[in-house]
Each structure stands twice: as structure tokens, then as C-alpha cells.
């Protein structure tokens, strides 16, 4: 069937600069560039271009510019080009539209409507370059009160396991299979270097990564792939994945083509078979059932590790989070509307769930109202883009955040949203060995660690400006925030005042 979808991008080649070296041909995993031997000329098939800019970055003579193909349809606010394109694709295939990364639609990004405070005159700001600044964060259940042994002053209260983070930013769950092993190793090494954690996702832990166990969160999700005793023992934290912001209520299908020998080894399923994660966990139909799995995992690891529960931010997130905390979770992760994915139906990604800012604020408020906020740490994720977002999330009540897309961008990702194709030209979201070697774990680790380093310096600057010397003083302190351009209801849910007030 002839496709009616017009190319989205143009590959503009400056013929004066192009030396026909074919670097662009070799770099493009989507087949958008090719060499015509007869004419000794490099050409493009623009309909295959995804706008990932790999060729542009690697062209030695700067001859390529990838631009939007100006699709000058008759202007229509309702029937926009992307909507026409989606319908066309569906008519040609009869299938569900898949996509990668997070929601790219124009729902309000609340981070951009929240501003932070700083000290002026009445209280001094602190210079983080000369004074100690504390970002240390402990994840885990906190006791109601601390009791000391009389005389020795040793701690009498029996503490549940706590996990120390030097930076309150962790790498969120990305499974081996969705991303390559080199990506996981880059993140694992960076996490180790920076004193934070990375997350295996639901895809098992490759034998070569067990050595990063102290910086590893392992996931237990509905498919239970790769979950066995050694896997649980290796981890610092065990995370039960109920849902993810990009696809709340939806399971996952890792297509058989992506289940290579090595992926099969970590997922513990035969090579080439589909890895199907059902939508629900079939032993969890209620909070009581969730509690049962939480304690099964605690039993399985003899109460030595915190158990985390990750849910997508949905309408009743606050009530659900309360149940999760009462069910015995040590950490609750809320993943917002903009949370990303290796593959999800587009209609779900862009239409289901609520923004993380609102979910986080309402969950934190609810847990405080119920007097159980100390019983679990709160982790926010889904669309955290900068240290500014981190600071605002922490002021709204998060103990720490997860970053996924930002971490991948640090490795080279250009957010072209083709993760679901498995052809990532940047070698990130693929298991094709020809492509995965494009990420060198040593360089990848350096880039990801650099990102965390710069964010932590910036966080210290923000804290210093606020006149506090520990992240703990900002945590849940919404008086440091003000809203801009928000309605009364939005301000009320966020628990912040209007700027100027």
C-alpha cells in the first residue's frame, strides 16, 4: 500500500561541503542515508529520517542540516499535522500507534509556573563554595521517635534499613532489553561514583553488573522476569513496579526480536520469545495483596533492604499512596504524566495520568494529614529536567527524584522518540550489537556522573541562596515556593502561595 505519510524531516546536504565519505550512511540506523555508487553520491531517503541528528553530529565537514520538512497543510488548529499523520498511519496498518519517551503534548508543566525563594537582608544567604552544604538523603522508613540508651547514649530504637544517597537524584528504571547493557553499565558506574542508585527495571540484572549491587535498585514487576534469590540479594533496594507514568494501567511487551542471547540470560526466558509483562500483577488485586508481596520480599531478604513501590500518578494517587505506606512500603515512587518509556501506546502515553507536580504535592499533603509521612520516603519522577526541577520537587515534599530521559540525554539521546523501534542510532535504546557499541561505558559513566555533579553544585547554590545549609531544610518546605500564572485551585493543590503574596 502506498503510504500517504509525508516525510517529517529534510536532510539538507551542502554539496560544496559533502566529500561523499559515507559517515552519515554508516551512522544512520534507520536507513535514511545511502550511497549511490553509480553517481558516487551520498543521498537521503527522507521518509525514513526520525530527526535524531546523529548524522549531523558525526558529519566531518558539517555538511548536513536536518530540519523539519515544512508541511504547509492548510492551517487548522484542530487537525494538526501530527494528528493527520497518526490517522494516516493507523489507516495503513490497523494497529496501535507505538511511541517512545514521555508525553510530548502541551499539558501544563507546573515546574515552569513555580519559582524558588532567596534570602535578602533579613536573613543571610550562604556561600556554598566556602561553607559546608549537605545533600545527603536517607531513603527508608523513619521511626516515630528515637530512643537512646540511658548512660551510653547509644541508639536504642531499632532502625529499619536506610539507604544513603549523596545526591538526591537516582537513575530511574530502564530494563536491559529496553536499553543496552552498555547504557546500564554507564549508569551503574556513574551511580557508584556519585553515591546514588540506578534501577534495573523489569529485565533482570546481567551477571556483569552484580558488582554494582550496592548502588542498584532491582525491580519486581508483573512479568517477574529475572527475579530470583541472587537478584534480590544483590540489590540495595527492591522496587515493586505497579505502574509507570508513560503507561499507567498497561503492561509491556518486549518483542521477541529484542530478546537476544544475553537479554534472555538476564530475563531468564528463552531466546527470541516475547517477554510479556501483564498489565496487573496477578497476586495483587488490593492493598492487602500488595502488603503481602512487600512482606514476601522482606522475608525473602530477611528484612535487610527497603522495599519500594512505584505507581503511576493517577487521579487517586494520594489515597493509593496512603494504602501503600500502610501496606508496609519503605519508599513510594510516584511517576507522573510525563514519565518516559521504551515503548507505549501513544494514546496512553499522551492521555493517561496526572502531572507529577500535582500528584507529588497531594500525596505528600495526604501522608502528612494522616500522620504517616515518616513511614515512607517519597520519590518523584517523570519529566525532571534540571536541578531547578529537583529543588522544587523536594520543596513539594519529595525525598529524592528519579531521572530517566535526562540521564539518557547525558549519554547522547536526542529525544527523537524512536525507542520502540529498537534502532536507536545513538546506541541507547537498542540491543543491536552494531549499535550498542556506540556507547562506551567509561565515557557514558563520565557524562552521566558529570550531569549529577553539575546538578548537585547547582542544588547547593539554590540552598545557599535560600539561606539553608542542608537539603533537609528544604524538604517539604513549600514556603520556599511561589506560583506564577496559576489558578486558586492549582495553588491550593500545590500547597503554595501566589508570587507576590
Amino acid at each position: 500500500m502506498k503510504t500517504f505519510v509525508t516525510p517529517k524531516f529534510k536532510v539538507n546536504r551542502d554539496e560544496d561541503r559533502c566529500i561523499q565519505c559515507q559517515v552519515c550512511v554508516n551512522q544512520c540506523s534507520f536507513g535514511a542515508n545511502y550511497y549511490d555508487a553509480e553517481e558516487n553520491k551520498v543521498k537521503s531517503r527522507e521518509e525514513l529520517c526520525t530527526g535524531c541528528h546523529r548524522c549531523e553530529a558525526f558529519c566531518p565537514t558539517n555538511a548536513i542540516r536536518v530540519t523539519y520538512n515544512p508541511l504547509d497543510y492548510r492551517g487548522n488548529y484542530n487537525w494538526r499535522p501530527d494528528i493527520i499523520e497518526d490517522i494516516t498511519k493507523q489507516s495503513e496498518t490497523g494497529g496501535v500507534l507505538l511511541t517512545g519517551m514521555g508525553d510530548d503534548k502541551s499539558q501544563r508543566i507546573y515546574w515552569d509556573h513555580i519559582v524558588l525563594n532567596a534570602s535578602q537582608v533579613t536573613n543571610p544567604s550562604i556561600d556554598p563554595l566556602r561553607e559546608p552544604m549537605e545533600l545527603t538523603t536517607y531513603l527508608g522508613q523513619k521511626p516515630e521517635r528515637l530512643e537512646l540508651e540511658p548512660g551510653t547514649h547509644n541508639l536504642k530504637t531499632k532502625m529499619t534499613p536506610q539507604v544513603k544517597l549523596d545526591v538526591p537524584v537516582m537513575f530511574s528504571a530502564m530494563s536491559y532489553g529496553a536499553v543496552s547493557l552498555n547504557v546500564q553499565e554507564s549508569l551503574a558506574r556513574a551511580a557508584k561514583e556519585m553515591g546514588t542508585l540506578w534501577n534495573t527495571g523489569e529485565g533482570g540484572l546481567h551477571p556483569s553488573l552484580y558488582k554494582y549491587g550496592d548502588n542498584t535498585i532491582v525491580q519486581v514487576a508483573s512479568g517477574r522476569f529475572g527475579v530470583h534469590a541472587d537478584y534480590l540479594d544483590a540489590a540495595k533496594i527492591i522496587e515493586i513496579k505497579i505502574g509507570q507514568g508513560a503507561k499507567p494501567g498497561i503492561g509491556g511487551h518486549l518483542p521477541g526480536e529484542k530478546v537476544s542471547a544475553d537479554v534472555s540470560l538476564t530475563r531468564m526466558i528463552p531466546e527470541g520469545t516475547d517477554a510479556i509483562s501483564p498489565a496487573p500483577q496477578h497476586d495483587i488485586y488490593s492493598i492487602e495483596d500488595l502488603a503481602q508481596l512487600i512482606y514476601a520480599l522482606k522475608e525473602a531478604t530477611n528484612y535487610t533492604k527497603p522495599v519500594s513501590v512505584k505507581i503511576a500518578a493517577v487521579h487517586n494517587a494520594a489515597a493509593i499512596a496512603s494504602g501503600i505506606v500502610r501496606g508496609g512500603a519503605d519508599i513510594v515512587v510516584i511517576d507522573g504524566l510525563r514519565g518516559a518509556t521504551g515503548a507505549a501506546p501513544k494514546v496512553i502515553r499522551d492521555n493517561v495520568g496526572i502531572p507529577i507536580e500535582l500528584a507529588l504535592a497531594s500525596v505528600d499533603s495526604r501522608l502528612r494529614q494522616e500522620g504517616i509521612r515518616h513511614r515512607a520516603s517519597l520519590v518523584a519522577s517523570g519529566g525532571i529536567r534540571s536541578s531547578g526541577d529537583v529543588a522544587k520537587a523536594i520543596a513539594l515534599g519529595a525525598d529524592a527524584v528519579y531521572i530517566g530521559t535526562a540521564a539518557l540525554i547525558s549519554l547522547g539521546c536526542h529525544v527523537c522518540q524512536q525507542c520502540h523501534t529498537g534502532k536507536c542510532a545513538w546506541g541507547i535504546c537498542t540491543t543491536d550489537l552494531r549499535l550498542t557499541k556506540r556507547i562506551n561505558p567509561e565515557i557514558g559513566a563520565r557524562r552521566a556522573a558529570n550531569l549529577l555533579r553539575s546538578w548537585s553544585i547547582e542544588l547547593k547554590d539554590i540552598l545557599g541562596g535560600l539561606g539553608v545549609n542542608a537539603l533537609e531544610s528544604l524538604r517539604g518546605n513549600r514556603l520556599h515556593l511561589r506560583g506564577i500564572g496559576l489558578s486558586d485551585t492549582e495553588l491550593e493543590i500545590l500547597g503554595i502561595r501566589m508570587a507576590g503574596n
Binding site: A229, P270, D274, H282, Q292, E299
Partner: protein, 252 residues
């Protein structure tokens, strides 16, 4: 009360909280116990979880949910019935139930063997897998409730229906919904309209019969049945019609 004779340990579980009971199990096994008898078990959860040694645990009474969850090695014999989640994500080991078992028996199990004399609840063998040398097996003496073998990705389920009357069908509905691996052998019949659309029905071939005979013999030995009598009956084989049930679901 704990009594010890050589390496056999007897624990009276009356009124013992599950966390303490499991701590005691761990301690006993660390001290070299190879056989443990738990008496008066009343619903304590997670028995056998976190035990990685080839120890034998005999349970008298009714253990609670998630018996042998994530288990990796032990052999558990229950003189009574098991509740929900028995053998949840099991990797290796054996569970023998002299009564019946609740819902989601062998959920996501990757290895090990589960023998149940009586009936099972909903979603038995759901998302069971297999991997390399590991191939989980569930033999059910009675019949099963709905969604038997849902999402099944590997392993073997044998449903014997020993208590069904002559000519009576199994009552389980939606059998093998989403099945994309493994095999289910059924003694007697499940009407076609009770099968998931991913499920195919076939007669057993020689290889199937050999597998069936092996496991039915073990099952009969455990519970005192005559294997030959059971094997004389008619069996059907349920298999996944496609290994990639959702391969054509997506546009791109």
C-alpha cells in the same frame, strides 16, 4: 517449643507469628537441619521463602499465603491445604500438597515441581516460564477454577480431574488465555468455548505420553493412586497456537 534429634527439628507453631517462625526456620537451617517438621501451622505466611538449601519441611496444618515464594531448593510437604500464591516465582524445589490449594499456584514460577492432590483456585500456573534446564511442573489431582495457565510462557501443567464424574467436563473457564508457551495436559475434557483463543487442542503424541507418564507416576506415588488407572483415561493437550500472540498488534 523446639526439639532436636540429630538433624530433624520439630517446631510447634501454635501462636507463633510468621516472622518469628520464618526466623526460626532460617536459624535451624543455618545450624545444619536437613529435615524440619512444623506442627500446628495456622495460616503463617511465607513459609520456605528465602530458603536456598535442599532441606525438607513437613507442615501439619494450614500454611498461609505465599508458601515457598521465591523458593530455591527446599522440599515442602503439606499435610493439609495450601492457600493463595503457593510457589509464587519459585526457582527450584518441590511443594507437595495433600489437600487443595488456593489461587495463583505457581505464579511466574521458573522452575520446581508442585503436586496437589485436590483442586486449585483461580489462575493456577499463571505466567509460568521455563529457562534453560528449568521447566516447572504443576500436577493437579482435582480440577481448577478459571484462568488456568493464563499468560503461560513455559513449563507443564497436568490437570487430572480425579474427582470428576465419568463424562463430566472440567469447569475452568478462560483456560490458557494469553498463553504463549508451555503445555497443559488435561484428563477428561474442557469444552472449546472455555478455552482462550490463543489455545490449540491436540491429541498427545509419544513424547507427550512419556512426559505425562513420568509426572503422573510421581504424583500417584506421592498420594497413593494407581498411575496406570489414571493414564488409561483420555487426555487432551492444550498448546499455544502462536508464540507471539501480540506480534501484530502495533502499527510501528
Amino acid at each position: 517449643m523446639t526439639t532436636m534429634s540429630e538433624t530433624i527439628i520439630k517446631i510447634d507453631s501454635t501462636g507463633v507469628y510468621y516472622r518469628d517462625l520464618n526466623a526460626r526456620l532460617r536459624e535451624a537451617i543455618t545450624n545444619g537441619a536437613t529435615k524440619i517438621e512444623l506442627q500446628n501451622v495456622y495460616g503463617q505466611r511465607y513459609i520456605g521463602t528465602d530458603l536456598n538449601q535442599p532441606v525438607e519441611i513437613e507442615i501439619f496444618g494450614t500454611p498461609g499465603n505465599d508458601l515457598g515464594a521465591f523458593m530455591n531448593g527446599p522440599r515442602i510437604i503439606i499435610h493439609g491445604s495450601a492457600q493463595d500464591g503457593c510457589g509464587n516465582t519459585m526457582n527450584e524445589g518441590e511443594i507437595i500438597v495433600h489437600g487443595r490449594a488456593g489461587d495463583t499456584v505457581g505464579l511466574s514460577a521458573r522452575g520446581g515441581k508442585i503436586y496437589i492432590r485436590g483442586d486449585v483456585g483461580y489462575r493456577a500456573g499463571i505466567h509460568m516460564k521455563e529457562y534453560q534446564g528449568k521447566k516447572p511442573i504443576i500436577v493437579i489431582g482435582g480440577t481448577a477454577q478459571d484462568f488456568l495457565g493464563e499468560y503461560m510462557a513455559g513449563g507443564t501443567i497436568i490437570l487430572l480431574g480425579l474427582k470428576l464424574k465419568d463424562g463430566q467436563d472440567h469447569l475452568s473457564r478462560y483456560v490458557g488465555t494469553g498463553m504463549h508457551g508451555g503445555v497443559i495436559y488435561v484428563r477428561g475434557n474442557i469444552p472449546k468455548y472455555h478455552l482462550g483463543r490463543e489455545v490449540g487442542v491436540a491429541k498427545l503424541n509419544e513424547k507427550d505420553n512419556a512426559v505425562l507418564k513420568e509426572h503422573v507416576t510421581v504424583f500417584s506415588g506421592l498420594f497413593g493412586f494407581n498411575a496406570d488407572d489414571i493414564l488409561k483415561s483420555n487426555f487432551i493437550k492444550l498448546y499455544p497456537r502462536w508464540l507471539r500472540p501480540y506480534g501484530r498488534l502495533y502499527a510501528y
